[in-house]
Structure formats: structure tokens, C-alpha cells
């Protein structure tokens, strides 16, 4: 059960060699024993998970099961799940029992999957190391002195440490791909608009996108099949024909053109990461792919553009936390405005406050054009760079992160160094393009390295195919720290 793929687990469940109750109990027991070492989960609820497992076994007995029926999934604590404590990693929501299900949770429920628990994360998804969580740091299972990445650090840790067969994450600037890379697992951020944002606690609405995190590209395809779908309750949800993301996994890669952006290979990448990337590219050439140099001249501006747009949207989204309808309210205050001020000062951590202040500033009178509009214009230039690059190639590859996982505490005092962890990933959020990370080896201190694969809009199936073909001939994705 520990290392089985979702396909294998699904087969065993369908053939009644294994029940969902057995599988769920197995992972609940692992969490109970090992979570103290990693802090990957904020909340587990044995009773609710097992009730879902019993229902899944009934579905399976009646022959109504699908690919994920009975499979335990670790849900990032950003997704509202009815009856579950849903904190978003914040003190602000430390008492928030969600009264409703997010669109993503609803789709997993309909598929008969089991919610095995809510994973730790950077507060309101703002962070790249999982050190901003009110519920404590998460440790990297490959080296407990290292960060797991963030913001979906608990999810990445849970999959890597085999506390769950698969997990969900969300990605606003790299929050699925960066922790996936640092924890040696696979993760994909789909095209913006494919997965419902309903009930997914908002950070930066024009960038936020949910996606799966798992051991392999094949697992990701099965998860994506459940997660993707139109939701009228999300105003930017896209209406498209349902795709089977597993259907083209086996396509050979001969003739595939891989674009290598010269800006991503020029500087900033550490030697150990570069060595692993070179070896992965050599493997792709053996698989029949060819590499071409492409240019993304504006991509290096992704971080400044991101740190205008994301905080601006966050400052607006997080204004809803006022201590009136839900969430933290200060104990004592002198009036309504004082209640807002104190509740927000107490409920938000330092990184969240910092971003709200940046966002409030760039949206304030006199600065809107110089910052917000300027950043939106650069966003278009970055998207145009990618559109031009795709004239010469099918997918773009590079490192997911400039270095392997850094040490806990190493960057927490320097916001800019932390922000630069997302130097390669944030462009896919700004442009809305799908992108993924897969493990391709180990660098310094035996910490994992991730390969970043970016595709054109709606090319998720192609990305998964490209990743799966690599995983067919290599075994990095099968390596586990436990």
C-alpha cells in the first residue's frame, strides 16, 4: 500500500483484494505515528475519513466505483470542506469549521475519494518554505533540516513521506511545483480556469489555480480527471469539453521540440541543479526529443510583476477577514474600526500583513498606474514572449527552482531571497499556462531536484505525456525517503 500507484490501488479496490476502510486506516495510522516528525497535517478526523471509506466500499461493492473511489487524498487546508476545520494556515481561521464544500472537495466526494486530512501550508498560501504557517513549520522528509517548500509544503511532505497516496495543492506563484521539486514528487498546475476556485480560500484570484500532487505523472492524470470541470460558482471557470488526461500518456516523444529559455540557463541556477537538468535533457534526447534555444526576454521581470499583482489582489481578497461574520475577533476593542484593526493585527502573521500593505500601497491613489497597471502591461509582454517561444517548440523546460531545498530558517528573515525561490515558476501563473515539476535526481546534501515543464494553454495531457515517458525509463519518481 505504501508505494503503490493510484492505478494499482484502484485495481486492488475494484477486485476486493483491499477495502477502502483498510487503506484509509493504514494511512491514518501512519499519520498518527509520523505526523509529529513532519507536521504535514493540521487536521485529521478519523471518524469523518472512515465514514467516507465505508461509503466508498459500498460504492465499490455495487460496482459503481471510479478510478479514485476509496482512495485517500490529503486536502490542502485552503479548501473549504464541510464540517472540517479549515484554517488556511492562519490564526485568523483557527476556529473556522467550514459550512460548505469547495468545488474541488465536492468533485472528490462525488468520485468517492476519501479526505484523509487537511495539510499544513504557508499562511494564506503566502510563502515558499511553509515557515509562515500559524501551525508550525513542516519538515522535508528527505532531510528534516530542510524546508519542504511552499505554500503546499504539507501536501508535498505528505506524499513524499507516504502519509497519503496523493494530495491536492494550489499554485499562485509556484506553490505546487516548488514544494513538489523540493520534496521529490510530481505536481501540476493546470491552465488557469480549468479547476474551480469556488471554496478555495482566495489569495490572488487572477493567478490562483488548484492542481494535484502525487508520486507520478500517471497518478496526476487520474487526479486531474476528477479535479477539472466547469463550475458556475467560479466566475473565471472555463467551459470546455471534458478531457481524459490519461489518454495520451503512452505517446512516443519522437519529434518533440523542447524549448530551453536562455534566460533560465544563463545565471542563478546552482551547479548541482544544472547537472541534474543536463542529465534529464540527455534522457529526453534519447527518447527522440530535440532541444532548441528559445528567448523569454521579459521573464526575469516575473518576480517584480508578481509582487505587485499578487499582493494587490490579496489586499482586496483579505479585506473580508474583519472579525464580524467568521474568523478571529479581538478580545477587547473601543469601537468598530478598532475591532477591525485589532482583529486583523492579531489574526494575520507578519508575511500576510507585509503583502496586504504592499498591495494596499500599489492600489492607493497616485500609485495605481505606476505599479498595478505597469505590472499588468508587463504581464502581457511576458505572455507574448511565451507565445513566440511556442512557435519554435512544443514544451519549455528548465529548473523548477534555482537550488535544492534550503535549510529551515535560512531565508525566513529575508523576504526578497524567499521570493526569488519562485523565479522560474511565477511566469506560468502570470500567463495562465499549465506547468509541472517532476523529480529528476538529487543535488547537494542528497536533496531532490525538479524539472520544470511548461506547456501552452490546455496542453496538460501533453505535459503529462512528456513527464510519463521520462518516468517510464527512469526511477527517480519511485525513490522515497521512508
Amino acid at each position: 500500500m505504501l508505494n503503490a500507484s493510484l492505478k494499482e490501488l484502484s485495481k486492488q479496490l475494484a477486485e476486493k483484494k483491499l477495502s477502502s476502510v483498510e487503506l484509509t486506516s493504514f494511512f491514518l495510522q501512519r499519520i498518527k505515528t509520523l505526523n509529529a516528525d513532519y507536521n504535514a497535517f493540521i487536521t485529521t478526523n478519523e471518524e469523518m475519513s472512515l465514514a467516507q471509506a465505508v461509503a466508498a466500499d459500498k460504492m465499490l461493492a455495487e460496482g459503481e466505483g471510479g478510478a479514485l473511489t476509496g482512495i485517500p487524498i490529503a486536502q490542502k487546508d485552503i479548501f473549504c470542506a464541510k464540517g472540517w476545520l479549515t484554517t488556511c494556515g492562519s490564526k485568523m481561521l483557527s476556529n473556522f469549521i467550514s459550512p460548505y464544500d469547495a468545488g474541488v472537495i465536492e468533485r472528490f466526494n462525488i468520485a468517492g475519494a476519501v479526505n484523509i486530512g487537511k495539510t499544513n501550508m504557508d499562511e494564506f498560501a503566502m510563502g515558499s518554505s511553509n515557515e509562515t504557517s500559524y501551525y508550525g513549520i513542516v519538515k522535508n522528509p528527505w532531510d528534516t533540516k530542510a524546508v519542504p517548500g511552499g505554500s503546499s509544503g504539507g501536501a508535498a511532505c505528505a506524499v513524499a513521506a507516504r502519509l497519503a497516496p496523493a494530495a491536492t495543492g494550489t499554485d499562485t506563484g509556484g506553490s505546487i511545483r516548488q514544494p513538489a521539486a523540493l520534496c521529490g514528487i510530481s505536481g501540476i498546475k493546470p491552465t488557469y480556469g480549468l479547476v474551480s476556485r469556488y471554496g478555495m480560500i482566495a489569495f490572488a484570484s487572477s493567478l490562483d489555480q488548484a492542481g494535484p500532487m502525487a508520486k507520478s505523472a500517471e497518478d496526476l492524470a487520474l487526479l486531474l480527471n476528477v479535479m477539472v470541470g466547469f463550475d458556475a460558482r467560479d466566475s473565471t471557470s472555463l467551459q470546455r469539453a471534458q478531457e481524459d488526461y490519461a489518454s495520451s500518456l503512452e505517446k512516443p516523444l519522437s519529434g518533440l521540440r523542447i524549448g530551453l529559455p536562455k534566460e533560465y540557463f544563463a545565471k542563478g541556477m546552482s551547479q548541482d541543479v544544472e547537472n541534474a537538468i543536463d542529465k534529464a535533457l540527455a534522457e529526453y534526447r534519447k527518447l527522440g526529443a530535440e532541444t532548441v534555444e528559445v528567448a523569454l526576454p521579459n521573464a526575469p521581470l516575473s518576480i517584480p510583476v508578481y509582487y505587485v499583482l499578487a499582493p494587490a489582489e490579496a489586499s482586496s481578497n483579505l479585506s473580508r477577514f474583519d472579525g464580524v461574520r467568521y474568523g478571529h475577533r479581538a478580545e477587547s476593542y473601543s469601537g468598530l474600526t478598532d475591532m477591525y484593526r485589532k482583529s486583523r493585527a492579531e489574526g494575520f502573521g507578519p508575511e500576510v500583513k507585509r503583502r496586504i500593505l504592499i498591495g494596499t500601497y500599489v492600489l492607493s491613489h497616485g500609485y495605481y498606474d505606476a505599479y498595478y497597471i505597469k505590472a499588468q502591461k508587463l504581464r502581457r509582454l511576458i505572455a507574448q514572449d511565451f507565445a513566440e517561444a511556442y512557435q519554435q517548440c512544443d514544451v519549455i523546460m528548465g529548473p523548477t527552482t534555482p537550488t535544492v531545498a534550503f535549510n529551515l530558517g535560512e531565508k525566513s528573515a529575508d523576504p526578497i531571497q524567499m521570493y526569488l525561490s519562485d523565479i522560474y515558476t511565477s511566469a506560468a501563473n502570470l500567463t495562465g499556462m499549465p506547468a509541472m515539476s517532476i523529480p529528476i535526481g538529487f543535488g547537494e546534501k542528497n536533496r531532490p531536484v525538479g524539472l520544470h515543464i511548461i506547456g501552452n494553454y490546455f496542453k496538460e495531457a501533453q505535459l503529462l505525456n512528456v513527464a510519463h515517458q521520462y518516468q517510464r525509463v527512469t526511477d527517480w519518481h519511485l525513490k522515497s525517503p521512508v
Binding site: R325, T337, A345, R354, I356, L357
Partner: protein, 95 residues
């Protein structure tokens, strides 16, 4: 650009986040370095470029003006800090 201590206090005020003198000074140092990084945006001429707010050219969906939600007032208020007779309680604002 030069951010001042007053800018930080003004923005904290706009954002309804209480901040004391020490915090304001620490925040000033951090925000100044972040804004120096953000300033690198100004190196590119964008005068002829249209701003991009969404990756796909989609228009806002409209729906029929009909009730789609059921009344869940009791459930939703069960998680509120303070309610009375179906109303959210806040400090008095009108004398």
C-alpha cells in the same frame, strides 16, 4: 523610490491593520527593499502595451436573476463571533 514611515502608517491605516511604532519601522525597512526590487519593472517601456488582467479572452458570464441559494442563515451564523436573533453583533456605530 523612497518610502517614509508615514507612508507605512497611512497604508496600515487604509488596510485596517493596527501597527505600533516599532513594527512600522521594521516594516519600512522590509517594504523599502521589496519596492527597490519592484522598481526594476520601470526598465521596460510599456507605453504601447495593453494591460492584461486575465489569461484567456473571456467575458463575464450572466445568469438568470433567480434565487439559487437556500436559506442557511443558522448554519452560517453558527461560526460567527457574536450573533443575536439572526443578526451579527458589532460595536455601536450610531449614537
Amino acid at each position: 523610490m523612497n518610502l517614509s514611515l508615514n507612508d507605512v502608517k497611512r497604508v496600515a491605516d487604509l488596510a485596517y491593520i493596527e501597527i505600533d511604532e516599532n513594527q512600522a519601522e521594521a516594516t519600512l525597512a522590509q517594504l523599502s527593499s521589496i519596492f527597490n526590487m519592484i522598481e526594476t519593472m520601470q526598465s521596460v517601456d510599456t507605453s504601447a502595451i495593453e494591460p492584461m488582467s486575465h489569461s484567456q479572452s473571456v467575458s463575464q458570464r450572466l445568469r438568470e436573476d433567480i434565487v439559487t441559494e437556500s436559506d442557511q442563515c443558522v448554519l452560517f451564523q453558527s461560526i460567527a463571533p457574536q450573533v443575536q436573533e439572526g443578526l451579527y453583533l458589532v460595536p455601536q456605530v450610531i449614537e
